[in-house]
């Protein structure tokens, strides 16, 4: 039992922005008011900010990609973050080891992270990796956008079969939701082309990108999964791609869900370029921001880039190949047979580069102008940079002075190619709490997270920030306070004290079971045929719950 006394609690879900006590019992927030202080661990949070644990909606923390990246980049592991002592050793610059991922997250107050792209064929490995990450709760989203069976069901225009297939995969893979990466494009690349607009067709299947996205949205809504489909749009990283992003967002028109959005567009920064080439590339956020703000069925996350080292890794094979050709840097391509592809390329974002500076500004425009209820802070770790720089992003959003200072460092081209210099907005602490806690929780359908109401998971963070005397001009102090939490409590255990790891526990891996909503028999002949020709036997395909360290089944239906 823990009592957090006199802290200034900000909890937008329950409309709290005032001084109050929090009582934690059995790993949950309790509303009991007769508390015997002698039985509790008392934390005095007078004049400190108390919020729920943050959620990273999109970070490649496990799966085959990051491990291949680790193998390709031995130079990443020269930075020692923590030596072996009471807790495990933690190393890594942008590609962290599994213990480092868990420790760095909780140090800055994050208690949940989602691995957003796991190829089903290799998901057993993803769960092994997730099981090695200490403290935080996690989940994985299997990839669907380039799967032959998905094309087949969509070509047959059979949404019911597609829904059955999704729930079959989620159950087999212990996945949480539906991830779509460059739908149709990765498959087309296997024949030497790509998908450049939502009307492009997949070779040998009579389906367009449009059909794939709408089909998956409809199937996802038929199952009413906790999370909507989670899409990485076509044409990522190409000048002028904001038009494709807007077209993709418009596909959600007319489909709704009362609880949440029906389309989550991820790392939008990489998909919000204007221009016809790298010479006149600029910010194309204007239309996207308008569209997201007026629609209540679309949400986004930022995909901020951070100046310095990064490692790009996506399931978007063709994009990674283009990037490798552009940068002439080392590259790994991994083909995942009939399901998807993958590539990894290291990259350094330089303030002296006009393109990188504009990318940096685009994400901030999204962060400042998109409604915080529909927006989430992300770096698309490790594509935009390491996640341990989230406090930097938060501080940039909070403080105009800090932004101006950083803009001086960036290339001058930013001044005419981006709208950022004309934006005066400073986000409030409550906005930041929304963009890191309540919004991702609602978008992911995690009702016990992102708030501090009764029954919520006892993921509580105390920061050394006094909201009553908050001054955005003191940005160095804010960034420092956000980087090292005074206390992080995960599931009722104190895991961080004064920015240092104080407790090591194992978090849960959440997965969604929607099999009650579907009948597996209708896809039986298709699966039978598929596995007749696949490299892996059906019996050997998938992950069993008993193999996972702490699985939590979330049943819908």
């Amino acid at each position: 039992m823990i009592l957090v006394k006199n802290g200034h609690v900000i909890d937008p879900v329950n409309g709290i922005n005032e001084e109050m006590d929090l009582f934690i019992k059995n790993g949950r927030i309790s509303s009991e008011f007769k508390i015997n202080e002698k039985e509790c661990e008392v934390i005095d949070a007078k004049g400190k900010l108390v919020v729920a644990g943050a959620i990273d909606i999109h970070a490649h923390i496990a799966a085959r990609k990051i491990n291949s990246g680790r193998a390709m980049r031995p130079e990443e592991f020269r930075r020692v973050r923590q030596k072996t002592g009471k807790f495990r050793a933690a190393v890594g610059r942008t590609l962290l080891t599994a213990p480092a991922i868990g420790y760095e997250y909780v140090k800055m107050g994050y208690t949940t992270a989602i691995e957003p792209a796991t190829p089903s064929l290799y998901t057993l490995h993803t769960h092994e990796e997730l099981d090695s990450i200490p403290i935080i709760d996690k989940a994985a989203l299997p990839l669907f956008g380039n799967w032959h069976l998905v094309f087949k069901f969509i070509a047959e225009n059979d949404i019911e079969k597609l829904a059955s297939f999704i729930s079959w995969v989620l159950e087999k893979m212990k996945g949480y939701g539906v991830k779509v990466v460059n739908p149709g494009g990765v498959e087309a690349w296997m024949y030497g082309s790509n998908a450049h607009s939502i009307d492009d067709l997949v070779p040998y299947y009579d389906v367009s990108v449009r059909d794939i996205i709408t089909g998956l949205i409809k199937a996802n809504e038929m199952l009413d999964l906790p999370h909507s489909i989670h899409i990485h749009c076509n044409n990522l990283g190409e000048p002028g791609n904001y038009e494709t992003t807007v077209d993709t967002m418009k596909l959600a028109n007319g489909i709704r869900n009362n609880r949440r959005q029906v389309l989550h567009v991820t790392h939008v920064q990489f998909n919000a370029f204007s221009g016809s080439g790298w010479k006149d590339m600029g910010s194309g956020t204007e239309e996207i921001i308008k569209l997201v703000n007026k629609s209540d069925n679309i949400t986004i996350d930022m995909g901020q880039v951070i100046f310095g080292h990064a490692t790009t890794m996506t399931a978007d094979g063709p994009f990674q190949f283009d990037l490798h050709k552009l940068l002439k840097n080392k590259w790994i391509n991994l083909d995942v047979e009939l399901e998807t592809g993958t590539g990894v390329v290291p990259l350094i974002y330089r303030p002296s580069s006009p393109v990188h500076s504009v990318m940096w500004a685009i994400a901030l425009e999204l962060g400042l102008l998109v409604n915080p209820d529909k927006n989430v802070i992300s770096t698309d770790y490790p594509n935009g940079g390491p996640f341990d720089r989230y406090p930097y992003i938060m501080t940039l959003l909070l403080s105009r002075k800090y932004r101006e200072k950083e803009m001086e460092r960036a290339h001058k081209y930013l001044q005419r190619a981006a709208n950022l210099p004309s934006i005066d907005i400073e986000r409030t602490l409550e906005d930041i709490v929304k963009m890191t806690r309540s919004s991702p929780a609602r978008i992911l359908g995690m009702h016990n997270k992102g708030h501090l109401g009764e029954g919520a998971d006892a993921d509580v963070v105390v920061y050394d920030i006094n909201p009553a005397e908050f001054n955005p001009d003191k940005y160095r102090e804010i960034e420092k306070a956000l980087s090292s939490a005074l206390f992080t409590i995960k599931g009722g255990t104190v895991v961080v004290k004064n920015g240092k790891i104080a407790g090591d526990i194992w978090g849960r891996t959440m997965w969604v079971d929607a099999t009650l909503r579907t009948t597996a028999e209708i896809i039986e002949p298709d699966l039978e045929e598929y596995f007749n020709y696949y490299t892996v036997n059906r019996e050997n395909y998938g992950v069993e719950e008993r193999w996972m360290r702490r699985a939590e089944r979330i049943e819908v239906g």
């Binding site: 390709m72 980049r73 031995p74 130079e75 840097n329 080392k330």
Partner: protein
């Protein structure tokens, strides 16, 4: 000047990242942290340390073949090894001079940016190379091996000079981007994926079959559109 002698025969490797900067302060030098295997120790616990005069020179006397990382990142001054040297001497060094009078181990002058390293005996592999994963090797300075050298010399070298007076092994100037490598004796495979720079060889060698022959030199590697030059030294 600081004179350092090992007190014992080392059973495991010692990691001592000492530079001539410590030569002027005896107390600081004695308490300098080094690692003996996994044990954290002070320099004086493993070595006899004496001071003579105030010059920025370190003299290592005895067998240092199990002592690694001497002169890492040094800026100026001089280190003289009167005996055999271990691995990683002069890695990342930016200036000054290292003289090894005996033989040297692997990774001499890895990723060095300036200064000079002279090995009077033989040197082993990976001379002036980048550490695993890095994209640039030696960026400046000069390495002279008066004896023979092993495999991998000047991989991904950007600038600077490496000279081997004796023979060398395989993989000379792989992925080289600039600078000069001279091998006076025989050597193995030369110039794989070479982009720019020059390699001069006096003995018999094997050139990767991706170089164009011009009047007096070979130009390649054509697979990576390289303009590197391989020149045969004549007497």
């Amino acid at each position: 000047m600081l004179i350092i002698k090992p007190k014992i025969d080392f059973e495991v490797n010692v990691e001592a990242e000492i530079t001539p900067d410590i030569a002027t302060d005896l107390e600081y030098a004695k308490s300098f942290t080094v690692y003996y295997g996994k044990l954290e120790m002070s320099l004086a616990e493993l070595f006899e340390v004496e001071k003579e005069g105030d010059s920025k020179v370190i003299v290592l006397e005895g067998d240092f073949s199990r002592v690694k990382w001497i002169g890492k990142g040094m800026l100026d001054g001089e280190i003289i090894v009167r005996g055999n040297a271990g691995a990683n001497y002069g890695a990342f060094m930016k200036g000054g001079k290292i003289v090894i009078e005996g033989n040297a181990d692997d990774w001499i002058g890895a990723e060095m940016e300036g200064g000079e390293i002279i090995v009077k005996g033989d040197a082993k592999n990976l001379i002036g190379c980048p550490y695993w994963g890095d994209l640039e090797g030696m960026k400046g300075g000069k390495i002279v091996i008066e004896g023979n050298a092993g495999n991998y010399i000047g991989e991904k070298m950007v600038s600077g000079e490496i000279e081997v007076r004796g023979k060398a092994g395989d993989f000379i100037g792989t992925e080289m981007k600039g600078g000069l490598i001279t091998i006076h004796g025989d050597c193995g495979i030369v110039g794989g994926d070479m982009k720019a720079g020059e390699i001069r060889i006096g003995g018999i060698f094997e050139l990767v079959p991706a170089f164009r022959e011009t009047d007096d030199v070979f130009v390649g590697d054509v697979n990576v559109k390289g303009k590197g030059i391989v020149r045969v030294l004549t007497l």
